[in-house]
């Protein structure tokens, strides 16, 4: 994953990394793919994916304003999230910071396919007070998650009454 920062005038922010960008590689040979970014104060909350081929999990980073991992979020600075207790094919899609939580959605592209919404506390705990019985902390957005529905994307938003609206 690469994080770029530009000044308001469009020039690279050379105070960020060595040339206005920083790369993040969680382990040798793995892929890191950032998908969505939001702010928590002056920190960056990022959702994406991490893995090797079909071995893929959603990952949430919290990055300090200087580009370093925020180890006050979690020791390593990032949280891995699997769906249905499997390590296969899960991509993080969107993240939004709201009311002391980091809401996110993720899509599991490996059967059984499913799109989920969850929320993580600011100290990196998946909030299991919400969610479905077989996926504590994760609300499944599926018509039938035991078949291969085309649930490759998903999105969520809060309406003006703070209701959480999800799509799959």
């Amino acid at each position: 994953m690469i994080l770029y920062r530009f000044n308001m005038d469009g020039s690279p922010d050379l105070s960020f990394g060595s040339a206005g960008y920083i790369t993040y590689d969680l382990s040798s040979g793995s892929d890191e793919d950032g998908s969505s970014i939001d702010m928590d104060g002056d920190k960056y909350v990022i959702l994406g994916s991490h893995g090797y081929g079909t071995l893929l999990k959603a990952v949430m980073w919290r990055i300090n304003n200087d580009g370093t991992y925020d180890t006050s979020f979690i020791t390593d600075g990032y949280l891995l999230i699997s769906v249905l207790d499997q390590d296969y094919g899960t991509r993080g899609r969107n993240v939004k910071v709201k009311d002391w939580f980091y809401y996110f959605n993720a899509t599991k592209l490996w059967p059984p396919m499913v799109n989920v919404i969850g929320r993580v506390t600011m100290d990196s705990q998946l909030d299991t007070s919400i969610g479905d019985s077989d996926t504590p902390g994760l609300i499944k957005l599926s018509l039938n998650h035991n078949v291969n529905f085309l649930e490759h994307d998903g999105y969520f938003e809060f309406d003006q009454n703070n209701n959480l609206i999800g799509s799959t």
Binding site: Y4, R5, F6, D9, G10, P12, G34, S35, D38
Partner: protein
């Protein structure tokens, strides 16, 4: 050039910022800023846009404007 709109945002000055990817070469990111009338805002990087960093293949996905009015872009 083959471009795809990835994300967009309006800043406090009502200028429109658009993040795109140029798929025709190395999937490099393009960040545009437009004035309210749709013209390129040439106060942004002197051209109205920023065209990626070589040598990365930059599948840019999302961006925000942070509290200090800096543009923060994530890419693969």
């Amino acid at each position: 050039m083959s471009m795809k709109d990835i994300a967009h945002m309006v800043n406090n000055e009502l200028k429109y910022s658009i993040l795109s990817v140029d798929w025709s070469s190395e999937s490099r990111l393009i960040l545009f800023r437009l004035n309210k009338d749709g013209t390129l805002d040439t106060s942004f990087n002197s051209t109205g846009y920023h065209y990626g960093f070589a040598p990365f293949c930059e599948h840019s996905r999302d961006f925000i404007i942070d509290k200090d009015n800096r543009y923060v872009v994530i890419a693969k």
